[in-house]
């Protein structure tokens, strides 16, 4: 059901607005997303322990290498040497194993968190009020579930493990240094810390440029995609020079931003390397002098050299990943916000309790409805009554209120004033799911899932409602889908491709009609959008539709009058009001708006 949407006008394209996050995002969203996943968080803690252990063993190996050189100095290559050498190798090996499994466990736990988030978002879409989708552009919702979760995933699988092990390693090196020799340790730590702060500080500065680049790149890519899709239009409207100069302008500003970031990086990254390696001078100078004066053992000196070698790569990794963190935080916050959107019950009120089989009587009494803005009603004082099993056509221009009227029957929107009765029971007394399960909907779009034909035909039926093959075949015979079925080599077990690519348009239509009859709804809605199937198939589909509507209250959203002439009742909408109702003959005799339409057709 298309509805005239009341989307807020948005300045700037989707890709821009989504990259425009505010700077004050914090870790809260991320932690909350993580917190709800109990099992992964345990794994994550285990992995952190493993990484800590790995760093510890690395330091042990460095210390042992120092001790080894102490033994070498005494030219004793006996049992002590072998022991120290074995501990060195053992520590290296254990550190490796811990690191390896730590990383794999992180991968596992973060994959689970991402999957959990995806599932929660899927559930969320199904519990949000339909009105949410009218006020939020579909593109935005789509980015939440796809791009934002992917951003989070990238953070979890790439950035988080890298940053975590970098931080763990830096801390381990510092502790090891301070423990081996406090004085020398303090000197090195004091001179390495500026490098870390410097890297954090300048990276934060680079973030604005980095974001700018992302935004410009996304914009340019979208522009190119658009231009390529619009080649014909561009040629016919003589826009080719215009698009080129527009595109060139875009590439030039991207180039300038790239250079800005490059100039910044060209200064920052070499300086970080310089600052991280510079403390070695103190190891050589002070350490060397301590050794000469006898206050430092040669073994400790060697260990210090080894420790210092382990600082550079974590700091470098840290500074490279730090700017991605902000993106991930923003993504997680947006996801968190969406998960906290008020559910359907908050708009439509608590679910009712009536759970019974429908007869199919529908009554609207002085109904006013709007999409959340009562001062701008979409439906104005609509009243009509439809008996069980009747066939009703709804006629009117786009935006006249046909689809909104139909959308109220399955309780998709709230009613501002008046009452809708289904089988004489007010809508809000109905258990929504029970009601909706007894409504069928056929439109031009037929959704076909990858899976067997049988599964696809039984899509609408509740799980406890078993259907025998014979029952399915009978219905297929009824709708004329039998012919297609017989042509499929595996019959009901034939696997259909996604979107039903191995069926023709007409066959897909017949499938959807067969599916509806198997679901056996009491109210059937036909959104007969313009079909471009050939006249021969159109006739078959029309016959199947007639079969399907037998014994059901059928509402037809008509785009052409010819399809509603045979209806028991025709409702004519204009500007949100129900201006005429009656049979085709009555309306023509009335000589009103409908008659005028009928004449031109």
């Amino acid at each position: 059901m298309k509805s005239s949407s009341n989307q807020k006008s948005r300045r700037g394209p989707r890709y821009i607005s989504d990259l425009d996050y505010d700077d004050n995002v914090d870790w809260l969203g991320l932690i909350k997303l993580f917190k709800t996943e109990k099992k992964p968080i345990k794994y994550f803690l285990l992995a952190t322990l493993l990484l800590l252990g790995s760093a510890g063993f690395l330091m042990l190996s460095a210390k042992n290498l120092g001790a080894l050189f102490g033994v070498i100095a005494q030219k004793k290559f006996g049992s002590e040497y072998i022991l120290l050498a074995s501990v060195f190798l053992g520590a290296e090996a254990i550190s490796l194993i811990f690191q390896y499994y730590g990383r794999i466990i992180i991968a596992y736990s973060t994959t689970q968190v991402t999957l959990g988030t995806r599932k929660k978002l899927i559930d969320k879409i199904n519990s949000l009020p339909v009105a949410y989708f009218d006020s939020t552009p579909m593109g935005r919702t789509l980015t939440r579930i796809t791009a934002d979760v992917e951003g989070l995933e990238q953070f979890f699988s790439g950035t988080l493990p890298k940053v975590l092990s970098a931080v763990v390693q830096i801390i381990a090196v510092f502790i090891a240094m301070l423990l081996s020799n406090l004085k020398l340790g303090l000197i090195v730590v004091c001179f390495t810390t500026p490098a870390i702060f410097f890297s954090v500080f300048l990276r934060v500065k680079a973030r604005a440029v980095y974001r700018e680049i992302k935004r410009l790149t996304a914009g340019l890519n979208a522009k190119l995609a658009e231009n390529i899709s619009g080649l014909t239009l561009i040629r016919l409207f003589g826009l080719s020079d215009w698009t080129l100069s527009e595109y060139r302008g875009g590439t030039n500003s991207l180039y300038r931003s790239h250079l800005k970031l490059m100039n910044l990086n060209a200064f920052v990254m070499p300086t970080i390397v310089l600052l991280c390696t510079a403390p070695l001078i103190f190891v050589f100078g002070f350490g060397g002098n301590y050794v000469l004066s006898g206050s430092l053992e040669l073994a400790t000196f060697v260990a210090f050299v080894r420790y210092s070698e382990r600082i550079l790569s974590p700091v470098r990794a840290f500074s490279q990943e730090i700017q991605v963190i902000q993106d991930a935080l923003a993504s997680s916050e947006r996801i968190y916000h969406m998960l906290n959107e008020p559910p359907e019950t908050s708009v439509l009120g608590e679910d009712g309790h009536v759970q019974q089989e429908l007869a199919g009587k529908i009554e609207f009494s002085h109904v006013f409805a709007s999409y959340g803005r009562p001062e701008k009603p979409i439906l104005k004082n609509i009243s009509f009554r439809i008996g069980s099993g009747e066939k009703v056509g709804l006629v009117g221009a786009t935006g006249s209120g046909k689809t909104t009227t139909i959308s109220l029957i399955p309780a998709l929107y709230q009613i501002d004033e008046g009452v809708v009765l289904i089988d004489d029971i007010p809508l809000n007394h109905w258990h929504r799911e029970t009601l909706r399960q007894q409504i069928g909907y056929i439109s031009q779009d037929v959704e076909i899932f990858r899976g067997s034909l049988r599964d696809n035909l039984l899509v609408g039926r509740s799980a406890h409602h078993f259907a025998s093959d014979q029952e399915i075949l009978n219905v297929c015979a009824l709708t004329g889908f039998e012919k297609t079925l017989n042509s499929l080599p595996k019959g009901l077990d034939q696997i259909l491709l996604d979107g039903g690519k191995n069926l023709s348009v007409g066959e897909r239509q017949l499938l959807s009609i067969t599916r509806i009859i198997l679901k056996n709804p009491k109210i059937l809605i036909l959104d007969e959008a313009t079909s471009s199937i050939d006249p021969h198939s159109e006739k078959i589909v029309q016959e199947a539709l007639n079969t399907a509507s037998l014994g059901r209250t059928t509402l037809i959203i008509a785009h052409r009058l010819s399809t509603v002439t045979a209806c028991d009742l025709i409702l004519v909408f204009h500007d949100g009001k129900l201006i005429e109702k009656g049979t085709h003959e009555q309306l023509v005799k009335n000589d009103g708006y409908y008659a005028q339409l009928a004449r031109t057709h």
């Binding site: 989307q7 593109g139 995609a225 215009w242 310089l274 909706r436």
Partner: protein
């Protein structure tokens, strides 16, 4: 990708390189500086240790010889910053040269790519899908720009770093170096093999992910229907299944990426063992000093980095070369296009025949005939309808008239001039077309109406009013400056079609082609527009109206029916 096709790319790669020789020379020179400084750092540890140890002088460099230990240590501490500064300059240097080149390539290729596409006709690009053209212009182009800069950085870094390290290690003790490095040499083919497997797992995971995203977008577009009929749980079930199967693949990929970790680290561990066994022996015969032994430990650790990089390096080269080939392919289409012989500007006033076809035939390839010997005339100012079943050639006829496809047989005159002799520029001043599939730019409604021209507020309002959109938009709380989303996603199909019609009507041209332009517009609105079309187009305008629904054609002065490629009145 077979090597034969990649090898053809080399000349064009070389041509691109030779456009900026200075940047490349500076880049290589500064990369050498960077690698040298990195390789010299373990040397300083070595010398310090040897000084403290009191190792024999022959293990020390010339500038430290014959000095008291303290003085030598001081000298060493002063020399070390020099190494760091060389490294700093080197790192600044390659960024300013090769990273810059990457961005220059990005800018130039982007513009060149669109420049080569913008005047091409659909018929010249038939072998490429839109998605393919877009992905060439985005991801292939990205790989190419890296190939010209950053990929070279990684490559030269690996080459220089490995050569310098090997040089220093072999100078210390060739035999020991060989013994220690043997395991790493064995690791290289393993790393390369791993890269291939890795790529496959990655692609599989990505394929699953894009499938999942596609399904999500379908689920969202069907949201209202599934809610209305309580079938949303079925969607959930399928989406859950896809999400889970992607999560499995993604985990498999991540787990397998970590396999590289042992592949690189285990050889280092073996090297350590070799070093711990052979080291003391070499020390005792004084072939190496303790400092040199320490340097060996450092070099073995440093040699891990290039091993990690090889992988990255290979994939980047592959992606880049294939990308360059794919981009060249598309850019070559334009050069191969025959030049159009341009006729004199059309004298529209003189000719009374808007369109005249004589034995017009067209086929999309060998043996296919879509149109067969069509003969018809459309007079100036006529409103003519063309109808016929699906596949009868209606759209083909429109495409030929708008020069979207070329190469018809027979004759087709537009205001007295043979169509094939007219340039796209002339066509764009004569033919106006509203296609069946509406095309809108991401932007505001105003932007989509104006494009490169300027119209007054009144002109825009009145044309929107004419197509019945103005009131509708106002009702939905939108204005001319409302954003309509990419491809106009926030408008309904009928609204998009009418916006496209409005855009065309703002630009009056002698021939207006309507290719089933109302297929998604409801019949009441359609009627309102058609009845009043005379208010917005001059009586001189010829309208060719192609429609599937014959009801719309009753406003036409004549109707032509196409069936099986043959026309009848």
């Amino acid at each position: 990708m077979p090597n034969a096709t990649i090898s053809k790319v080399w000349p064009s790669y070389w041509k691109e390189i030779s456009r900026y020789p200075v940047l490349y020379i500076v880049g290589i020179f500064t990369l050498i500086m960077t690698s040298l400084s990195e390789v010299f750092i373990p040397k300083f540890s070595q010398w310090t240790l040897d000084l403290l140890w009191g190792s024999p002088e022959n293990h020390l460099p010339k500038f430290l010889e014959n000095l008291p230990t303290k003085e030598a240590l001081l000298k060493l501490c002063f020399a070390f910053p020099l190494v760091l500064i060389v490294g700093w300059l080197g790192r600044v240097g390659w960024r300013q040269s090769l990273a810059r080149r990457t961005h220059i390539a990005g800018r130039d290729f982007r513009v060149a790519y669109w420049d080569s596409l913008r005047d091409l006709r659909e018929s010249r690009l038939l072998q490429y899908t839109l998605g393919d053209l877009i992905s060439r212009g985005i991801s292939d182009l990205n790989a190419v720009r890296f190939l010209l800069g950053m990929t070279l950085v990684i490559t030269f870094d690996v080459i220089f770093f490995v050569s310098f390290s090997l040089f220093f290690m072999f100078r210390i003790d060739a035999g020991l170096a060989l013994a220690c490095l043997a395991p790493s040499f064995f690791a290289v083919p393993l790393v390369i093999k791993f890269a291939k497997i890795q790529e496959k797992t990655y692609l599989k995971a990505q394929k699953k992910l894009s499938f999942f995203s596609e399904m999500i977008s379908k689920a969202l577009s069907m949201m209202k229907f599934s809610r209305a009929t309580a079938t949303e749980k079925i969607w959930s079930k399928h989406l859950y299944r896809e999400a889970t199967s992607y999560a499995k693949r993604s985990y498999k990929f991540q787990r397998s990426s970590w396999k590289l970790f042992p592949i690189v680290n285990i050889p280092t561990l073996i090297s350590y063992i070799v070093l711990l066994i052979l080291g003391p022996q070499r020390l005792s015969v004084d072939a190496i000093s303790p400092g040199e032994l320490l340097a060996f430990f450092s070099y073995l650790l440093l040699m891990q980095t290039p091993l990690y990089e090889i992988n990255h390096c290979i994939t980047e080269w592959q992606k880049g070369l294939v990308g360059l080939k794919r981009i060249n392919e598309v850019m070559a289409v334009k050069n191969a296009s025959a030049r159009i012989v341009e006729a004199d500007p059309l004298d529209i006033k003189r000719s009374l025949r808007a369109v005249q076809a004589g034995d017009l035939s067209y086929g999309y390839g060998e043996g296919s005939t879509v149109l067969q010997n069509l003969n018809f005339t459309i007079k100036k100012g006529e409103i003519i309808g063309i109808t016929g079943p699906v596949g009868s050639g209606k759209s083909t006829l429109v495409k030929i008239l708008s020069q979207e496809i070329t190469g018809y047989q027979g004759s087709l005159c537009l205001f007295g001039e043979e169509l094939s002799t007219l340039s796209p520029q002339h066509i764009s001043t004569v033919v106006n077309c509203v296609p069946q599939k509406p095309f809108l730019f991401a932007g505001t409604i105003r932007h989509n109406l104006c494009l490169d021209s300027i119209f007054t507020e009144e002109q825009l309002k009145s044309i929107l009013n004419f197509v019945g959109l103005y009131h509708e938009l106002q009702q939905a709380g939108r204005s001319l400056d409302s954003w309509i989303g990419e491809w106009g996603v926030s408008l309904s199909g009928g609204q998009k079609q009418r916006l496209c019609l409005a855009r065309a009507l703002l630009r009056p041209k002698p021939l207006l082609l309507l290719d089933d332009s109302f297929s998604a517009v409801d019949s009441i609105t359609e009627k309102n527009i058609i009845e009043r079309i005379g208010e917005v187009v001059s009586s001189e305008t010829t309208i060719v109206w192609v429609a599937h629904r014959s009801s719309t054609l009753k406003y036409c002065s004549r109707i032509l029916t196409l069936e099986n490629g043959v026309i009848s009145e």
